[in-house]
Amino acid sequence: MSPATSMAAVTLGALLSHWRRNLLQLAMLLMGLALATALWSGVQALNAEARSAYARAAGFLGAAELSRLEHPQGWVAQADYVALRRAGWLVSPVLEGRADLGGRRVTLTGIEPLTAPPASVAAAPALDGPDLAGFFGPPGQGFAHPETARTLEAPQITLTADEAVPVGTVLVDIGVAQRLLGAEGRLSHLLLHPDQPRGVPPLETVAPGLRLIPPDASADLAALTDSFHLNLTAFGLLAFAVGLFIVHAAIGLAFEQRRAVFRTLRALGVPLRTLTGVLAAELMVLALVAGAAGLVLGYGVAALLLPDVAASLRGLYGAPVPGELGFDPVWAGAGLAMALGGALVAGGRSLWALWHLPPLAPAQPRAWAVASARSLRRQAVAAGGLGVTAGALALWGQGLLAGFALLAALLLAAALAVPPVLAGVLALGARPPPGPRGGGGGAAPPPPPPRR
């Protein structure tokens, strides 16, 4: 170990020993950061799971890529499909409806794999193989998301689990769907192959009742649920900010308590750069520990909430969101980065003050007070700026995002303003009382009149 590393390790040991002797303070710091990370990352896990479900739904049967033909009144007659095929149109039938399978209501989606455009069956790879005969043949094969397949007992079909199928949906052959839905001769819509042959008669001639629906309009769950997820994100961000204030207070207290130790360390020969670096490293170690705990907690909270959130999304928007949470390393990395960044933001002020104070100053209350007063002034200015921003948003802001920004600006301004306001009130209270009046030899004030 090099001398510099050894010195840093000895210094880190001395600084960490503070926490060993102040376990409550350590618990407060870790809990604040862990809770902040947990709430933020939990919300992000919910959002990510829901959005990935929307993407899956948008990709299911090529809904995001393929145009479709629909009838304004609802059903497309099977005769129209036959007429279009005979006229040379490359179309494929789809039938969707709610059905009771084994006592559970599911969305039944029937397709015709032989005519289906490649983009629509890409979601169910098993349809490419020799199982195709099983898909058609009795009793008929169904594909369902593993979560759905696990809870479904459907004697009418043979179920196969497939991650690509949205939760709550069972993909079957069109004939099986018509039989189970009691919709003989009826279809929901027709999928249009992107490469139609030239010279086919126009749609108005072959099937005049049908209309063409472009791809995006039918798969806009993400846009539909945007405000819901904005709500969640705003809640997570505000919870994170509140957690950071707890962390800021804990770090500030720890720095305050260790001012004399900083002076001693400097006096014993720890360079400022090493001391600041070790303090930052200590902060990072604590942030990593708290961040990891926060991720576990956040995952638990999200897993606990997801079934209800999924039910809300299904009920409100018909969004097929699974009730089980997956694990995404990117989510975990982002959560840890938030914890590290948050700890740096919360401890940044103290590190900055230490960096700019001369070696003997950390233990001199006056020097520290001057540095703190400067910092309080900056905080007051930031609070004022946020207050003005909130006012501007209240006057000219439009939409949900502006509403949340207004709320965030107000809350942060209030939180930032509390310390300078308290310091002002304390300073006012600490002023010496005015001396006796009439110092120039005047008479004392008259006594109050006697009570009757």
């Binding site: 001693t264 014993l268 020969g269 360079p271 400022l272 070696p359």
Partner: protein
């Protein structure tokens, strides 16, 4: 023999061994509401290893400032400071810290032990920082200071005299060339203070380090090898 400007002849220059402390023409003034206040006005002194010098003076005369400048904790307006032949003046923060770590032991009036470390950890702390920790030497030092039974305790569990013994041990365990002690008995009763000073003088001398002691007490100053009085920014005979 300690050399102090204006008090004795400058010693012959010795090429073989650098003095533990050499201060030349040190100047320092502070800006006050009544104008600049000069506390050090061309102070020079020199201390060899094994020597001790007591520095006395009125409150605010600049004794502690001189000590802090020697330790590289405060900048001077002019002049130079050398510790064991290495220049403290003009060095970077890291350079000054390295000199303090390896060459200077500091003993404060307030003891300044690290409250979250045990006596044993405090005792070996500076030696570990300097990469010179020798467990046997530290154990001998603890025995010499009479604190070997306190090694597992924390500073808050010690009396003032015991804390100051630990602080003396901490600075000597790193085997510095120079010990700078700022009113080391200022917070102790007379009997405890005498015991601590005896230990400080003896152990510093045994370790072959020079001692610069700042004190208000002429009685304590008289026990050092040499004495100097700081008045109007200059060193005089007491």
């Amino acid at each position: 023999m300690a050399y102090i400007s204006g008090m004795s002849a400058q010693p012959a220059h010795d090429d073989t061994a650098a003095p533990a402390l050499r201060v030349q023409g040190l100047r320092k003034s502070f800006t006050t509401s009544e104008g600049p206040l000069t506390v050090l006005d061309g102070v020079s002194l020199q201390l060899e290893r094994g020597e001790s010098l007591a520095l006395t003076g009125e409150s605010g005369s600049g004794k502690s400032t001189l000590l802090h400048i020697c330790a590289g904790l405060e900048p001077a307006d002019g002049g130079t400071v050398e510790i064991d032949g290495r220049a403290m003046s003009g060095a970077s923060d890291a350079g000054r810290a390295a000199l303090r770590r390896g060459g200077v032991g500091l003993v404060f009036q307030q003891f300044n032990l690290i409250p979250s470390l045990t006596v044993a950890a405090n005792l070996s702390f500076q030696a570990r920082l300097a990469g010179r920790h020798d467990p046997d030497f530290t154990a001998d030092l603890a025995a010499r200071l009479g604190i070997e039974a306190l090694m597992r305790r924390y500073p808050e569990q010690l009396s003032g005299g015991q804390q100051q013994r630990v602080a003396v041990g901490r600075c000597l365990a790193a085997r510095p060339a120079l010990v700078l002690a700022d009113e080391p008995t200022g917070n102790l009763d007379e009997a405890t203070g005498d015991t601590v000073l005896d230990l400080l003088l003896d152990t510093t001398s045994e370790a072959g380090a020079a001692l610069l002691l700042v004190t208000h007490s002429p009685r304590l100053a008289a026990r050092c090898g040499a004495r100097a009085h700081l008045r109007a920014g200059r060193l005089d005979a007491p």
